[in-house]
């Protein structure tokens, strides 16, 4: 192996010129460094939030009302936890079925048609619409008429999730082999039957994990909620009545206050929110790894 036959030059790395080897090494080092450059601040943020947050988060913090005066130290964030869960759930109920059906249209019905192409392109464009614009949009079409409520916030989050769900579902439906579609059509199944009982179940794990990632993204968003849900200091279970609150908006508000108690609550809310988002993300990853269709 190592002996070089006569007439051929030695191409092993030992024969590479010194400056070329040095350049290669520098490039390799830079690539490794770039991983560190991203990892170090991330660790700083996570460790800091965990340290500050763990000092305040306890069952009482997660359940009791937000103090009437922001100056007051102590817990809690109960209304914001409830608000985040409720608003995100409502947004999911609206955006996920709509997004899956839209993706079904694009991949199963509209193949190759202009309209389907336009919908695909526009859902890509819609995915790039800034979240604050989604908030302004719901403000102009909903809040101006019906006032601020949890539901208005859910509408804004749903508008944000819709293109993400469409895109991830679309790519999952494309992975379903055509043999399955042709086979069930040959057995006499109608098109809707093929889609509902064969194609969607085959793609279900991927669709679930993609949708969960969209939910995680929505749960962490603040900007769409700023002008849509208002502010509340007690739990509001009525999605259509009166102002509500969420963890992200509480972090945003309390971070800007100069009071130690408010800032502590902001760190506690940040830890709670990160945990919620991470749990959703991890569940999504586990589902997609366990059931990946290859």
């Amino acid at each position: 192996m190592t002996a070089v036959p006569p007439g051929l030059s030695d191409l092993s790395t030992s024969n590479v010129g010194r400056s070329r080897r040095a350049r290669n090494r520098i490039a390799t080092l830079l690539v490794y460094a770039s991983v560190l450059v991203a990892a170090v601040p991330l660790m700083f943020v996570l460790v800091y939030v965990a340290r500050k947050g763990l000092a305040v988060v306890n069952p009482e913090f997660l359940t009791s009302d937000i103090p009437i005066s922001s100056r007051r130290p102590g817990p809690g964030m109960g209304p914001a936890v409830v608000g985040t869960l409720l608003i995100t759930l409502a947004a999911t109920v609206m955006a996920v079925p709509l997004g899956i059906l839209a993706a079904v249209y694009v991949t199963e019905y509209g193949q190759g048609s202009r309209l389907a192409g336009a919908i695909r392109f526009l859902s890509d464009v819609m995915a790039g619409v800034p979240s604050i614009v989604m908030g302004l949009f719901i403000y102009t079409v909903w809040v101006l008429r019906f006032g601020q409520s949890g539901f208005a916030g859910a509408l804004a989050l749903a508008a944000l999730m819709l293109p993400i769900v469409i895109r991830s579902t679309e790519s999952m439906l494309r992975l379903v082999p055509d043999d399955l579609r042709e086979g069930s059509t040959a057995l006499g199944a109608s098109k809707s039957r093929v889609i509902l009982s064969v194609v969607l179940p085959a793609a279900l794990p991927g669709i679930t994990s993609g949708s969960l990632l969209a939910v995680a993204r929505a749960a962490g968003e603040t900007a769409p909620l700023l002008f849509t849900i208002g502010a509340a200091r007690a739990v509001n279970l009525g999605m259509f009545e009166g102002p509500n609150t969420a963890l992200s908006s509480q972090i945003f508000a309390n971070a800007q206050l100069p009071f130690a108690g408010a800032q502590e609550r902001a760190w506690g809310a940040a830890l709670t929110l990160i945990v919620i988002v991470l749990v959703l993300t991890i569940v999504a990853r586990v589902i997609s790894r366990r059931f990946t269709v290859r």
Binding site: Y48, A118, I132, L144, G220, E221
Partner: protein
């Protein structure tokens, strides 16, 4: 013995012929098709509604300010003067700062994942990027405001001191030094757009044909020479698209910037001083705005919407030109 199949009565409504069941099935089929089409159209409807409703509410401010809305940098809501140039410039400055830091790092991580990483390091680094993408922007903003901003002023002062006698840089990196500044906002945004640029670049790098890489190695290229000669030329348009998607995200990112940018409405190139960006202005002023001021803020949203649409549409068409598997995003 031949069986007469024809004369046998059909056992129940199984056959797909033109019976009652067939009709019901066709109706169900049609209903489902229409539902799917309607859902698909909802994207068009929402986008049209966004543009229409916001333009309508912004119209009073546009009519009031005319072209000054985007060419003047005087923003004085109390006397109803609305010139958003400083915010447009701030948005672009912050986004460029974010790209300057995020692009090399993201391409480095993408190269690490697709070419260099040992098997057991690959997965942890992928998780790291996922984690970075999962952290809510308001948490980055909180950390940036309460931890990074106070700590980084010293760095700004030192660096500004070094640059003092250099002609242009002396101004750009000169005083006033403020922890809440355009530069701090750019740094935080860089962290936030790194995952998106990384994941798309990696998918683009993975589409480079193995034959081309092996050909480069066969010509006795070092790994770096293989990257420069085979991978980068092949991926140029895909990575350009990834960078533009990152730019679109940075321009629209609101909350983190709103917390650390310093909120001062002036046209400035002093990166270590406070400034403002479109999304941040909307977030910070909307609550206490009324009448024409509110209309002007919605107008700011319209301008931001238009800018991000253009950037994203161009980015998408660049990325779509790549092979199917190179299209990224979450």
């Amino acid at each position: 013995m031949p069986v007469d199949l024809e004369s046998r009565p059909a056992p129940g409504p199984v056959a797909a012929g033109p019976g009652l069941a067939g009709a019901r099935r066709r109706v169900a089929d049609h209903v489902f098709r229409v539902a799917a089409l309607a859902s698909g159209l909802s994207v068009l409807v929402v986008l049209a509604l966004i543009a229409g409703s916001m333009a309508q509410k912004a119209w009073p401010a546009f009519r009031h300010s005319g072209l000054d809305f985007v060419t003047s940098s005087r923003w004085a809501p109390n006397v109803e003067v609305f010139g958003a140039l400083a915010f447009v410039a701030g948005t672009l400055l912050v986004s460029v700062i974010a790209l300057v830091f995020a692009v090399p790092v993201s391409i480095g991580i993408a190269l690490f994942l697709s070419e260099l990483a040992p098997r057991r390091l690959r997965r942890p680094v992928i998780y790291l990027i996922d984690l970075l993408a999962a952290i809510p922007s308001v948490v980055f903003g909180l950390w940036g405001l309460l931890v990074l901003a106070p700590a980084i002023v010293g760095v700004y002062e030192t660096f500004g001191g070094w640059m003092e006698s250099v002609p242009v840089l002396g101004t750009v990196f000169g005083p006033p030094y403020n922890g809440k500044s355009l530069f701090t906002a750019g740094l935080i945004l860089a962290l936030m757009i790194t995952p998106i640029i990384t994941s798309i670049s990696r998918e683009v790098f993975d589409t480079v044909p193995a034959a081309q890489k092996e050909a480069a190695f066969a010509l006795s290229a070092t790994r770096w020479e293989m990257i420069r000669g085979a991978i980068l030329p092949h991926s140029r348009s895909g990575v350009t698209g990834a960078v533009m998607l990152g730019l679109g995200r940075a321009m629209g990112e609101t909350i983190a910037a709103a917390l650390v940018i310093g909120s001062s409405p002036q046209l400035t190139a002093r990166l270590f001083g406070s400034g403002d960006a479109m999304a941040a202005v909307i977030a910070n002023q909307f609550g206490e705005a009324g009448g024409l001021h509110r209309s002007a803020l919605i107008g700011l949203g319209v301008v931001l919407f238009a800018m991000t649409i253009v950037v994203n549409a161009v980015a998408r068409s660049v990325v779509r030109r790549q092979p199917a598997s190179a299209r990224g995003g979450r």
